[in-house]
C-alpha cells in the first residue's frame, strides 16, 4: 500500500483506508447501532442521500408548477408545504448531516485516533434527526424554513405543533453533532499548531454548532408554546414581540449557513492534497480563515431582515460592515485553493478523477455565488432588488448546492472505493458530473435574472410580467437536468457496488503521465 509523500506533518495522516466492501459486510445491527466511526458515518451519508432524493423530488414537483404562469396543478397549500419541506429536508436533512458524516469518516483517520470520540452522542444526534424528519412529514408545515412568528402558528393546520417540535429536535441533534465534532478535533497527537486543517474546521464549526443551536432550540420551544397558547414570546397580539423572534432566530439562522459550509471546506483541504500529491499553499491562511468565519457568523444575523426596521442607524451599519468583512475569510480559502492549484503541475490522474472535477467546479460555484455576497451585504441594494427576491435563492443555491452539495458528492465519490472496494463507473459519473454543472449553472443564472426583475420568493403562481416567465422556464429546465444527473448517480453507485472494477490498494494514485494515468482505476 502506497500513499503520497505529503511532506508537511500538519497534513495529518492521509485520508486513506484499505478499500474493502464495508457496506456489503455490514449487518443491519451494525448499520443501525454500531459506534464504529465508519458505520456511523455511512449511515449518516446514506440517510442524507435519501433526503437529497426526497428534497429534490419535492423541488421538481413545484418547479413544474412554476414553469409557466397561470397554470395550476398544485394548490397554494400543497405548494408551500412542498417548498417548506424542500428547504428543511435539504438543509437539515441533507447538507448538514452529509458533510458532518463525511467529517466523522475522515477525522479519526486523519488524526490517527481510529475512533470517533463521543460516538453515542453522534448516534443520538442521528436518531433525533430521524424523529424530526418523521414529524415534519406527518405535520406537513407550510411556514417555510424560517418559521416567522406569528405567521408560523397561525396556519390553521392542527398538526403544526409537529413542525415546531421538529425545529427543537433539529436543534438538539445539531448541538450533539457539534459536541462530537469539537471533541474529536481535540483528539489525536500533537499540539494545536500541528493539527490538520480538518481539525481546525471541525473544532471551530463545532463550537459554532453548539453556540448557535441554543437560540434555535429556544425558537422551537417558543413557537411550540405560543402555538399551543401556553406561552406568548413571539405573538404580538398577546404581548410577545416579533422583533425578539427575529433577533433570536437569525442568531441561529446565519450561522446555520456556515454549519454545512465549513465542513465542506474541510473536505477540500483534506482531499485536494491527496489528488495533487503536495500540501496546501498555506496552512495558517486556512486556520485564520476558519477562526474568522466562526467569530463573524453570529453577530451578523440581522442582515437577513434589514428592510424590517429603519436601517441606517449605527447598529445596522455595524451589522452591514461585519457582513462585508465576513466575505474575507471565504476569500482567504478560495485564494488558498487556487494558489495551491498553481504551485505544481496538476497530475493527469487528478484531472480524470471525478471527485477532483467536482471539487474544481464547486470552487467555481463558490466564486460565482459568493461574489454576489458583496452586493447582498449592503443595505441600499438589498432594499432594492435583493431582499427576498429570487436573487437570494440564486445566491444560496450557488453556495449550498453548487459548493456544499457538490463537495459532499465529491467526498462521497472519494470515499466510494474505500467502503465498497470497487470503483465507480467513469462514464456514468461523467454524465452525472456534466448534467449537474450545466443544470446548476442554468438554474442559478436564471434565478439571478428573475431576482433582478423582482420576482418574489415563495409564490406558487405569478403574473406574466416581462422578464418573469422565461427565467422561470429556464430554472425548471435546469432543475430537471439536475434530476437526470441524480439518476445517473444513483444507478452508478448501485451498479458499481456490485459490478464495478475492483479498487486498487490506492484508488487515488498520483500519476503525471497522461498515457499511463488510470481512467478510473488501473485494469487489474
Amino acid at each position: 500500500m502506497t500513499t503520497h509523500e505529503l511532506d508537511d506533518p500538519r497534513m495529518g495522516n492521509p485520508a486513506h483506508w484499505k478499500p474493502e466492501n464495508l457496506v456489503g459486510t455490514m449487518s443491519i445491527k451494525e448499520l443501525l447501532f454500531s459506534n464504529e466511526y465508519r458505520h456511523i458515518a455511512l449511515k449518516g451519508i446514506f440517510t442524507a442521500l435519501i433526503m437529497l432524493a426526497l428534497g429534490g423530488f419535492f423541488a421538481l414537483v413545484f418547479r413544474t408548477e412554476l414553469a409557466v404562469p397561470d397554470q395550476q396543478f398544485l394548490g397554494a397549500k400543497v405548494y408551500m408545504t412542498l417548498m417548506t419541506l424542500h428547504g428543511m429536508v435539504m438543509v437539515f436533512g441533507f447538507l448538514i448531516p452529509v458533510v458532518v458524516s463525511i467529517c466523522y469518516y475522515m477525522l479519526p483517520r486523519v488524526l490517527g485516533t481510529e475512533r470517533l470520540y463521543w460516538a453515542p452522542a453522534a448516534q443520538w444526534s442521528y436518531w433525533i434527526l430521524i424523529v424530526a424528519a418523521v414529524l415534519l412529514v406527518i405535520g406537513r408545515p407550510d411556514f417555510t424554513w424560517t418559521a416567522y412568528a406569528p405567521m408560523s402558528f397561525r396556519t390553521g393546520n392542527p398538526f403544526i405543533w409537529m413542525g415546531h417540535l421538529a425545529i427543537f429536535l433539529v436543534a438538539v441533534s445539531e448541538f450533539l453533532a457539534g459536541a462530537v465534532l469539537v471533541r474529536n478535533a481535540f483528539s489525536g497527537k500533537g499540539g494545536w499548531k500541528d493539527k490538520p486543517l480538518i481539525a481546525w474546521a471541525t473544532g471551530t464549526v463545532g463550537l459554532l454548532f453548539m453556540a448557535s443551536t441554543i437560540p434555535l432550540g429556544f425558537i422551537g420551544l417558543g413557537l411550540l408554546g405560543d402555538g399551543l397558547g401556553t406561552t406568548a414570546f413571539f405573538d404580538p397580539s398577546r404581548g410577545g414581540s416579533v422583533k425578539f423572534f427575529l433577533y433570536v432566530f437569525w442568531t441561529y439562522g446565519h450561522p446555520a449557513v456556515y454549519l454545512p459550509f465549513v465542513p465542506a471546506i474541510a473536505i477540500i483541504y483534506t482531499i485536494m492534497p491527496r489528488f495533487l500529491g503536495f500540501p496546501m499553499w498555506s496552512y495558517w491562511s486556512g486556520v485564520v480563515a476558519f477562526i474568522l468565519l466562526a467569530l463573524g457568523a453570529m453577530p451578523i444575523g440581522p442582515h437577513h431582515f434589514q428592510p424590517l426596521y429603519t436601517v441606517s442607524g449605527n447598529y445596522e451599519r455595524f451589522v452591514q460592515f461585519l457582513t462585508l468583512l465576513v466575505f474575507i475569510p471565504s476569500v482567504l480559502h478560495v485564494f488558498n485553493w487556487i494558489a495551491t492549484l498553481f504551485m505544481k503541475p496538476i497530475p493527469a490522474s487528478a484531472r480524470r478523477a471525478i471527485p477532483f472535477k467536482f471539487m474544481i467546479f464547486s470552487i467555481a460555484f463558490i466564486v460565482y455565488g459568493g461574489a454576489t455576497a458583496f452586493l447582498n451585504a449592503q443595505i441600499a441594494p438589498d432594499s432594492d432588488f435583493i431582499h427576498n427576491t429570487y436573487w437570494i435563492p440564486a445566491h444560496f443555491h450557488a453556495m449550498f448546492f453548487g459548493f456544499v452539495g457538490q463537495m459532499a458528492i465529491a467526498g462521497f465519490y472519494y470515499l466510494y472505493p474505500y467502503f465498497t472496494g470497487r470503483m465507480y463507473h467513469q462514464g456514468m459519473a461523467n454524465a452525472h458530473f456534466w448534467l449537474w454543472q450545466v443544470g446548476l449553472f442554468v438554474k442559478i443564472t436564471a434565478m439571478g435574472v428573475a431576482g433582478y426583475n423582482y420576482f418574489p420568493r415563495w409564490v406558487y403562481d405569478y403574473l406574466d410580467i416581462p422578464g418573469w416567465a422565461i427565467p422561470q422556464m429556464f430554472i425548471t429546465m435546469g432543475g430537471f437536468l439536475i434530476g437526470l444527473g441524480f439518476l445517473f448517480f444513483v444507478v452508478n453507485l448501485a451498479w458499481s457496488a456490485k459490478y464495478g472494477k475492483n479498487s486498487p490498494d490506492d484508488p487515488w494514485p498520483v500519476v503525471h503521465d497522461a498515457d499511463t494515468a488510470p481512467a478510473a482505476a488501473p485494469a487489474e
Binding site: 397561525r154 487556487i338 467555481a364 441594494p381
Partner: protein, 214 residues
C-alpha cells in the same frame, strides 16, 4: 425611469465590482487548471489582495450608507418623525400621503379623503408619495419594483416609505416580498399613475379604483 432611492449610479458601480470579482476568480481558476507555467504565489500577494478587499469593504459601506441615508434624510426632514412615531405635521412635504394596511392577504390603500382601495394606490406622474404602512397580523413586505424600494412591516411597528411616482402613466406592480402565509402569492396591488392632463380615467381601468381625485 427615475427612482426613489436614486441608487442606480452607485449600484451599477458595485455590480461592476461584483462582476469583476467573479470574472477574476473564474479566470484564475481556469489559468490554474490550464496554464503550462507553474508558480508559487508569495504570501505578500495574499496580504495585498486582502488589503484591496478591505478597501472595497470600506467603500461599499460608505456608498450604501450614504445612499440609504440620503433616502431617509428626505423622509426625516424637518423632524417629521420623532423616535419612529409618525407625528404628521410634515405631510405637506409630500404631494400625496397614502396609508397602507397590509393584512393576510392583501393591501388596503387609504387616501387623504379616507377612500379605500383594495388593489390600487393612485398617484399623478412625478409626485412624491408617502406611504404610511401598518400590518395588523403578521410580518408583511412592501415592494414597489419601479421605485426600487422594499420595506417590511413588523405588526408591532409602523413604517414609512416614500417614492417618486414614475413620469409615465400606467400600472406598476406593488407586491409583498415576505412570506406571510399560504395566501402570500395573491398579495399584489398596483401603483396606478394616472394621466393628469386628461380629466377622465386613462387607459387601463383598475377595477375598484374609486379615488380618482384628479
Amino acid at each position: 425611469m427615475e427612482n426613489a432611492l436614486g441608487i442606480s449610479g452607485p449600484q451599477a458601480t458595485l455590480m461592476a465590482i461584483t462582476a469583476s470579482f467573479t470574472v477574476l476568480g473564474m479566470a484564475m481558476l481556469l489559468a490554474a487548471m490550464l496554464m503550462k507555467r507553474r508558480w508559487k504565489p508569495s504570501y505578500a500577494f495574499e496580504f495585498g489582495f486582502i488589503a484591496i478587499m478591505i478597501g472595497l469593504v470600506f467603500y461599499a459601506d460608505w456608498s450604501s450608507v450614504n445612499t440609504y441615508s440620503a433616502y431617509q434624510a428626505d423622509l426625516n426632514a424637518e423632524e417629521r418623525r420623532v423616535s419612529g412615531e409618525y407625528v404628521g405635521e410634515g405631510e405637506a412635504a409630500f404631494d400625496r400621503v397614502i396609508t397602507v394596511i397590509a393584512f393576510q392577504w392583501g393591501f388596503a390603500f387609504i387616501n387623504e379623503e379616507d377612500e379605500i382601495s383594495r388593489n390600487a394606490a393612485v398617484a399623478n406622474p412625478g409626485e412624491k408619495v408617502l406611504f404610511k404602512i401598518v400590518s395588523n397580523d403578521v410580518i408583511h413586505g412592501f415592494n414597489i419594483p419601479v421605485a426600487r424600494i422594499t420595506a417590511e412591516i413588523d405588526p408591532d411597528e409602523k413604517r414609512e416609505m416614500w417614492i417618486r411616482a414614475p413620469d409615465e402613466p400606467g400600472k406598476y406592480l406593488i407586491q409583498c416580498v415576505n412570506y406571510c402565509g399560504v395566501g402570500h402569492t395573491q398579495m399584489k396591488a398596483w401603483l396606478v399613475v394616472q394621466d393628469n392632463t386628461e380629466a377622465a380615467d386613462h387607459g387601463e381601468s383598475t377595477g375598484e379604483n374609486s379615488n380618482d381625485n384628479a
